[in-house]
Symmetry: C2
Subunit: 481 residues, 2 copies
């Protein structure tokens, strides 16, 4: 209990910790420093803290009992899922007064209901396992993101994860029909009815989704399932500029009857980087246009006419000169190759030197202007900076990554990073955009949120936080001050 020694009320806290140890049992209590270490730091290793305890309750009831005991003893709690977040939201603070509460033993898929098209899962289920269980029931669970092999659904919901299929299926928020949540006082809110329509008061689930563990701990969820896609068409098409990409987006949505699953804008420079830095990668399209779109359609229909219509659509975009070059994946291997290219782009940026990432969004119609303005601002602030603006155009979500000037000092570049980021955020906020489209706030962007979000919105959030967690014990110092 050394972490608590320097704090008042240590007797009460020590007693509470002993009781909590009883509640979770030997399997639920991490003593070994090596076993604890990965839970005391975040995935990007931006923050490394200490903890009064690291506990792994095995059920909702155990989570509730732990939280109740913490509430009584005023011990703050940091909930942690797969710990794959990018903004330090699941790491404990340096003071070591917090309990890190892991949800990984809440790992049951409680029910797959192919008739109601729902799956009920506990918070600690790995995202990929949900996708798998859905597929086994001949259904699709569409949430998909890079960390899906290790992230937990509880964390996905607490952070309202985005990912690759948002355009067609929405964020994690949009996939939730119900939640079970342990509240800051240890009571359990059972909202697992899985109703698709329910107008009986305030929508509580939407309050917890995206709250980053600051209002309670999600212990289970009812999620939506969809028909499995039976046919997929993937293409990479070259366009003149981002405005042409936005125009292509709408035509593609219309032509496919809304079956457009992905629409990723990629600048040629990013592909050139990938070709230069990642082995085995080629530009499948070529040409000298500045921009490409990686798009994918998918339909649960088995009618080949669907694909025929899409091929006609792509031909027409060539005839209209909206698309100037491109390739349609003729088979699964080519399709996988196009998606590998997208991954290689991300990898290549890491290899090209120090880089500063921004996960921002604006209204879809403003994407072209945003890319132009943000690029100009970054180049003015840091001459020679290499701007890679790519991402989910259909959601207005641009990953604006600034790679250090070629041959420059990476450390010196990063030392100037705050000024560069603030210049980018100035453009974002002036356009009514968001400084965190999908990665959340956590600890990393808390100061930016405080500076950039409307004071009225911040005040509403603080009021809600105080109403639900008056002692400020749930993931303190994350999201809000």
């Amino acid at each position: 209990m050394s972490a608590l020694d320097t704090h008042p009320g240590e007797g009460r806290q020590a007693a509470a910790l002993a009781e909590i140890r009883e509640i979770v049992g030997p399997k639920g209590w991490l003593d070994d420093p090596e076993a604890r270490a990965p839970h005391l730091t975040d995935w990007r290793k931006l923050y490394t803290g200490r903890a009064a305890a690291v506990v792994r309750p095995a059920s909702t009831e155990e989570v509730a009992a732990v939280v109740r005991r913490c509430a009584e003893a005023r011990i703050p709690i940091v909930p942690q899922g797969g710990n794959t977040g990018l903004v330090g939201g699941a790491a404990p603070h340096e003071a070591g007064t917090e309990i890190v509460l892991l949800t990984d033993r809440l790992s049951r898929i409680r029910e797959v209901d192919p008739v109601g098209n729902t799956v009920t899962v506990e918070a600690g289920v790995v995202l990929q396992d949900i996708q798998q269980a859905a597929a086994e029931a001949d259904r699709l669970f569409p949430l998909a993101l890079g960390a899906q092999g290790s992230c937990h659904i509880g964390g996905n919901l607490a952070t309202n994860a985005g990912g690759l299929n948002v355009l067609r299926y929405g964020n994690a928020r949009d996939l939730v029909l119900g939640l079970e949540v342990v509240l800051p006082d240890g009571r359990v809110w059972d909202g697992l009815s899985g109703l698709r329509k329910d107008n009986t008061g305030y929508d509580l689930k939407h309050l917890f989704v995206g709250s980053e563990g600051t209002l309670g701990i999600v212990t289970a969820a009812v999620l939506k399932l969809f028909p499995q896609p039976r046919q997929v068409m993937t293409a990479m098409l070259a366009v003149a500029d981002p405005a042409a990409a936005v125009s292509l987006l709408h035509k593609a949505q219309e032509a496919s009857g809304g079956q457009l699953v992905a629409f990723e804008l990629v600048p040629k420079f990013a592909i050139d980087l990938a070709v230069a830095h990642v082995e085995g990668v080629e530009n499948p399209v070529g040409g000298d246009t500045g921009w490409y779109v990686l798009l994918e359609f998918a339909t649960p229909s088995t009618e080949s006419a669907f694909i025929d219509a899409l091929e006609q659509f792509v031909e027409k975009t060539f005839e209209e000169e909206l698309v100037v070059d491109g390739t349609i994946a003729a088979n699964e291997a080519q399709r996988a190759g196009l998606w590998r290219l997208r991954e290689a782009i991300i990898e290549a940026q890491d290899r090209a030197g120090a880089q500063l990432k921004h996960d921002v969004s604006v209204a879809v119609a403003k994407v072209p202007d945003f890319i132009a303005e943000a690029t100009a601002v970054a180049e003015a602030e840091e001459p020679g900076v290499r701007v890679v603006a790519f991402g989910h155009v259909g959601d207005g979500n641009v990953h604006l990554n600034l790679v250090q000037p070629e041959g420059a000092d990476g450390a010196a570049f990063m030392a100037r990073s705050d000024a560069l980021s603030q210049a980018v955020y100035d453009v974002v906020v002036a356009m009514g955009g968001s400084i965190s489209a999908e990665h959340g706030i956590g600890r990393l962007k808390k100061a930016d949120l405080a500076a950039r979000k409307s004071p009225v919105a911040l005040d509403l959030m603080r009021k809600i936080k105080r109403a639900l967690d008056p002692d400020g014990l749930m993931n303190p110092g994350k999201l809000l001050e």
Copy 2:
């Protein structure tokens, strides 16, 4: 000011009302009793109250100024849109201490953005006018319901309206990208950025949608637009029972690639009622099966293959004997005829005698069991009662209407209605369902909510209410006690 004469603090309130009269000007102040009358009662005339004033502010700024003045003088406010709600949520109380605040002069469509697929509207815009504005921009705004010619979008959002297209496009909630809200203290929260992705803190818009005016007044919204449907196929198909209907639902969703817009279950008895009571109505299918499904597919694609595939799908359901009889509308007139039949069903129930309506929902997979159990319970409670269970199966939303026994005394039947309703709600709650799927709570179902909703959920709602509206001035006595 006679309504205030009997209350303490009348001097302060009279002064505040005089100031509010200045704020809204002559056009914004309703003095004429005849002009005020329709705003003092609800659409079903369940409640008729009085008001200290009926005001019509002309802008968000005027709404904010009125609310600020009310907050200072502790004058409660009842926001009112098109006043088409079914649960008395927009009618003032009998005491006459409240101000009724009409949003009908906030009637501008601020912007239609066909590139970003959004429309920005003020609260007082009539739903049908938004549909129209979207259509003029070659887009679809999919919210559609019976009252669309007179209901206001502000009310639709405050009550999270459902309607006919929920299966494909979601409730009102799902169509909102942003809100502008006047808070209980008169501040304005401007959440109109219209972002499709924004993970910067708690999702405030979802808190206001469905809050029935108890947390603030929605003054404007950014809404999602969709591609216009170019091809529609509507059919009425006979099935053996509700379980067959649920099975058909999934096959239809899969075969159409999710382009199923409506899926309405109708018992044959309801059609018989319509044929008997409404002139010019015929059963277009015939046969002696107990149940029918009215379903509609729509796609923005112009490819005729889409319709061909659906026709093949319907044929296959016949071959599989899932569907035992049916008709596909061959033209727009036949399509309109099928939808008129649905309206006639509602009309016929009114004509068949006294009836008791329930707008409930359960998980989709439980719909067949719910209909069977609720029917049995109702028939046991009231021998001879005629049960009409119809509605949006795809959302799990059943309109369970109980028509008085043939030839019985309607008034006596209605006098026993509470016991009958409670018996139905027992079944709903035992199945984890909702006692108000789309109509909300308002004043009518407040006691049922208090009795039926989980105490934890109610406590969370009350905490949020107190946090945002500590003086309880926003639509008091609605939704929560």
